[in-house]
């Protein structure tokens, strides 16, 4: 009888137990929602970045086509026949042997053949233009972050 009284005296009221359960459930729910929220946010960010990269890649392709086209258009405008026509329109005529005066210029070796690109040599090249942070998962980010933190503190992982 006494035992029962003692137990009853120290026993939580049923409503308090229920509240504790509800609280615990709500805590789990809130933590779950927070994690989901973070995951959703990062996924959305990654998706937006991915879409943007795709757009930029398409833009790059368009620009490459445009650059090639503009180079060719420029070449059309500088073609031998076109330039000859323009020069004649402006009143110029082709130089003959009699029109040319030769002056010795010490050290001048004459016109050199064009160099459109550097000669072969050792030059560092970027393997990829997308930063690794755009490709890593949340887990990889956490793992790498923890690893970097430990390393920066001089601790053994």
């Amino acid at each position: 009888m006494l035992d029962q009284r003692i137990i009853q005296a120290y026993k939580q009221a049923p409503w308090r137990v229920q509240l504790q359960w509800i609280g615990a459930l709500l805590l789990v729910l809130v933590v779950g929602m927070l994690i989901s929220g973070v995951y959703l946010y990062l996924s959305a960010e990654a998706t937006a970045a991915g879409t943007h990269i795709r757009e930029l890649e398409l833009e790059r392709e368009d620009l490459q086509i445009r650059i090639a086209d503009l180079s060719t258009q420029l070449a059309f405008l500088r073609s031998a026949a076109f330039m000859q026509g323009r020069a004649e329109t402006l009143g110029y005529k082709n130089a003959s042997q009699r029109d040319i005066v030769y002056i010795p210029v010490p050290g001048y070796t004459g016109r050199q053949v064009v160099f459109l690109a550097p000669p072969p040599g050792n030059d560092p090249r970027d393997a990829s233009i997308i930063k690794p942070s755009y490709k890593e998962s949340l887990w990889e980010w956490l793992y790498q972050g923890t690893f970097d933190l430990i390393e920066s503190r001089g601790l053994k992982p």
């Binding site: 996924s43 990654a46 998706t47 937006a48 970045a49 991915g50 879409t51 990269i53 795709r54 890649e57 368009d62 490459q64 086509i65 445009r66 090639a68 086209d69 180079s71 060719t72 258009q73 420029l74 070449a75 059309f76 500088r78 073609s79 031998a80 026949a81 000859q84 082709n94 130089a95 003959s96 042997q97 040319i100 030769y102 010795p104 004459g110 016109r111 053949v113 064009v114 160099f115 459109l116 690109a117 550097p118 000669p119 072969p120 040599g121 990829s128 233009i129 997308i130 755009y134 490709k135």
Partner: protein, 590 residues
Amino acid sequence: MNSTNSRLRFVGVIFIIIGLAIIFQIVRVQNSPQAKEMISFLEKNYNQEIRVIKPERGNIYDRWGNLLAGNTEVYEVGIAPPQVINSDTIAQDLSSILGLDFTQIKKIARSYVEEGNQQYMVVADFVSADKVHLLENKLAEYEKAAKPKKGAAPSLNGVHWVAHLRRSYPENALAANILGFYNFYDRVDGRGILGLEEQYNNLLAGTATRVVLPMNPTAIQEIPSVPPGSSLILTIDRGIQAAVERIAQKAQEDNGAESVTILVMDPETGEMLAMATTPAFNPNEYQKYGEVFPQGSHYNRAISQLYEPGSVFKVLTMAAALDSGAVTPETTFVDTGAIEVGGLWIYNWDRGAWGPQDMTGCMQHSLNVCLAWTATEMGPTTFYTYIQNFGLGKYTGIDLAGEQVYPLSLPGDQNWYPINLGTNAFGQGVAATPVQMITAIAAVANDGRMMAPHIVKAYIQDGHQYDISPRLIRQVIKPETARAMTEMLANSLENEASVALVEGYRVSGKTGTAEIPGPRGYESSVTNASFVGWGPSDDPKFIVYIWLEKPTSSPWGSVVAAPVFSEVVSELTVLMKLPPDSIRQQMAQP
């Protein structure tokens, strides 16, 4: 109360069983073989895109960086029938701007509504950027326009245009015989045809790369940067090429020739500075190839048309005779107008007897009898050894597709007769291409060193420029022989006051007139007129080879080809900035 509880428990159990059954079914369906197959199918078809990235075809530049072959932007225009809102607008605009058939376009635009066609259909390709800009303007106009109260609003919805590159030749017909062409209208199997486009097709085309791109934007994968095809930098000088082509065209018209070929080479390196042949051809309109080059005609006569060169060949015979010691420039030959070789008689071009002549006189008057005699003095073994060393009967190896060669008949061959020694000595009974002839004779202009003729000076690959070094084929004759020969040919031009001479510059050269062999022997009515010359004689910087095929104004090389040489050299000295000899010699003095 108990009864209520038990009922509730029963209902609860039923719901739990149903719930579990649903979960079980979900797991079972998702893991069934059919589901796996479907997932795999969807992943393959919708979750990733397989793209074959064709690199941009490499450019071709002249030696100064002027673009000779590049790429231009064109568009493919298509219709996606399910996206079409207003088929009338599409038919109207595509027919007016692109010149397509109104009825046909309308039928395609309405094909989803009428037949359920969902397939994207290409309606035009290689549409210029200007026309696509007009379509873009229309699109912008319709987007801004107010919606009509009745009927569908004007719209180009469902019409798509995608840019791609098309091979383009900004200089049009200039150097077309060197460049060849790319059959760009074949977007699948397009390839370089003839000339450099064929010779360097693999290098220019680059390597197509196949990539699998995930459609899921979170699974980012970088599209690999496919390097463009290699670009070529030629030895050709655009200015010289343009001038030489203009002169060739004029020479053909003035002389009523079937064709004219002019080659300009740097004898020291073997670099071709210009290579002009007629007729002109615009590779931007390569579909007209058949009209310009009827069956049997040659795209680039300089490398692919064999002909009997005639008296220009005498340069090689005399060089061999001098080098072997069979004769010296002062050796006297008494020309009686005929010589018997191998039981047959050989006569001079005028059937005349020219009396005592030194070797310069023999070359100056182009005496067949004298040259046949020098060949017999050398003997067949020595003569043909030299001729073979000069590269006759062998490919020069010039880096252009389509080079032809005619085998040289040698003693012991079935088709060689003793008379050949006499006739071959003055360029009859041997066939060569102009590039073979200029390569061989360039050795005489370059102290006896025969350089490999080439068109490509450097190439650009993966962002680096790689130079191609000149290649020595062999030392054919001694330097002193080459200089003596150059002197003899300069004197012979001066002695006869040739129309090939150029004021202010000493040049060496030789004319050539060759009858053309036909089914009934040699026809004297039609000839091949040639001229080969180089200069300045004391330090040759250029060698020029001229060939007029079947000229009608005069059959003689000295009349039709020699003035063309003079005209070419007059332009060359300006374009190459070569000072007249007197100024150059003054400048060379300390």
